[in-house]
């Protein structure tokens, strides 16, 4: 029996892609180039970009990996808003002209590839791991499901960097930590197993730390995973402003029973 999918593989319409082309190695200003792309049902913007690369202009550079919204490589500014190219249906945009820009507030490596070094550096600087005083444990730290709910939302981050591009503070302030790093800082501070609040405090409370957020909410608006970094930053600020009066105390979770299997591996 042959299964016939209605309309599958048919070209529905032709849209124009206006793509920002820029190569820092050539001493040229960024320019926009237009490509006509036939659109089939179910085609994403990333498919459109790859169509251009395969059929029209092989010199176009774009970064992508999983094509299913997991890796966070293909964040671009599509029609003025930061989105994952692989999660944006061309037909759902409902426009004949699709403007594709690389993420703003970053250096550009080439064309649609932003240099995310800043994002990773800022992320690393807030110590995105559980900080404990004791040595490497041979068991798990004990955590209740309710305690996990306090930060579970912020673990969904895929580090696509869309929030830093949408952030209005980041648009002018290079030294700002950015929504992603601050949300991850809160994720670890709110974690009941963590004891590293004081180690992170100096950086978070600095001149370009958490207080340079002005709750414009753009980071949450564009986040492709619904992480809501703005919420994390405001909650983190709540912790910091209470910390002025009463020193914030973390009660790091207790260590569970030692496991022989872990000892063997280590």
């Amino acid at each position: 029996m042959e299964l016939v999918l209605k309309g599958f593989g048919e070209v529905v319409k032709t849209v124009t892609f206006r793509v920002r082309r820029y190569d820092p190695e050539k001493k040229e200003m960024p320019k926009y180039m237009e490509y006509k792309v036939p659109v089939q049902r179910g085609m994403t913007v990333l498919d459109g970009v790859l169509y251009i690369k395969e059929h029209l202009d092989p010199s176009l550079a774009a970064r992508y990996s999983c094509r299913m919204g997991i890796c966070g490589s293909c964040a671009m500014i599509i029609n003025g808003k930061e989105r994952l190219a692989c999660q944006t249906q061309i037909l759902e945009l409902n426009k004949d002209l699709i403007k594709v820009d690389p993420l703003g507030n970053y250096d550009t490596v080439k064309d649609l590839v932003p240099d995310l070094n800043k994002l990773f550096k800022n992320h690393e600087s807030v110590k995105p791991y559980i900080v404990r005083e004791e040595a490497e444990p041979y068991g798990e730290y004990i955590q209740l499901p309710e305690e996990r709910e306090k930060y579970a939302l912020f673990t969904e981050c895929i580090m696509c960097g869309a929030c830093l591009s949408a952030c209005p503070t980041m648009a002018t302030d290079d030294l700002y930590l950015g929504p992603q790093a601050l949300a991850q800082a809160y994720r670890y501070i709110a974690d009941s197993r963590d004891a590293g609040f004081n180690e992170r405090l100096n950086l978070l409370d600095s001149k370009h730390g958490v207080w340079r957020c002005h709750f414009a909410g753009a980071c949450s608006e564009v986040c492709p995973k619904g992480v809501d970094p703005a919420l994390a930053i405001q909650l983190l600020r709540g912790v910091l402003s209470k910390n002025v009066f009463i020193k914030y105390k973390q009660n790091p979770a207790k260590l569970g029973p030692e496991r022989a299997s872990i000892k063997e591996v280590l």
Partner: protein, 149 residues
């Protein structure tokens, strides 16, 4: 080294792509700058009171009728709008920026509408917005007619 693709302050005034809160941010900053510059002018203006009744009254009349046009009430109305907006939005920001009246961390669900901008935060925006309109109407009516509603 400067960031090549930096968007700059002009991107704050992008009115449609990012939703209401970013627009509020831009307006809060803009009104803040306006009020700050006004304070400097105001301190200079009020220091004229030390120079006697004639100077003071002349300055007041000049500010009400700059260059022979009755423009003073419009300036005062615009200033009132700016001040009321900054005051009420600042009140909201004082609350929410210290982590109060916000939702607890939740589980994200498609289509991923951020809940930090909704809920009590949104209710505050509505209530303070209505309050802003009411105060502005009272103020502007007073400025133009001298009638205290």
């Amino acid at each position: 080294m400067a960031i090549e693709n930096k968007k700059g302050w002009i991107s704050w005034f992008n009115p449609i792509k990012y939703g209401f809160d970013r627009w509020l941010f831009a307006m809060h900053r803009f009104t803040g700058i306006v009020i700050g510059l006004y304070l400097m002018a105001h301190v200079f203006e009020t220091s004229n009171i030390l120079r006697g009744p004639l100077t003071w009254n002349n300055v007041m009349v000049f500010l009400d009728w700059p260059f022979g046009i009755h423009f003073g009430p419009y300036i005062l109305s615009a200033l009132l709008l700016v001040v009321v907006f900054h005051a009420l939005n600042g009140l909201r920001l004082t609350i929410v920026e210290n982590g109060l009246m916000l939702v607890r961390p939740y589980r994200p669900e498609y289509p991923y509408k951020p809940k930090s901008l909704a809920g009590w935060n949104f209710a505050l925006k509505i209530v303070l917005g209505i309050l802003m309109i009411v105060i502005s109407v009272f103020g502007i009516v007073y400025i133009f007619t001298g009638v205290i509603l």
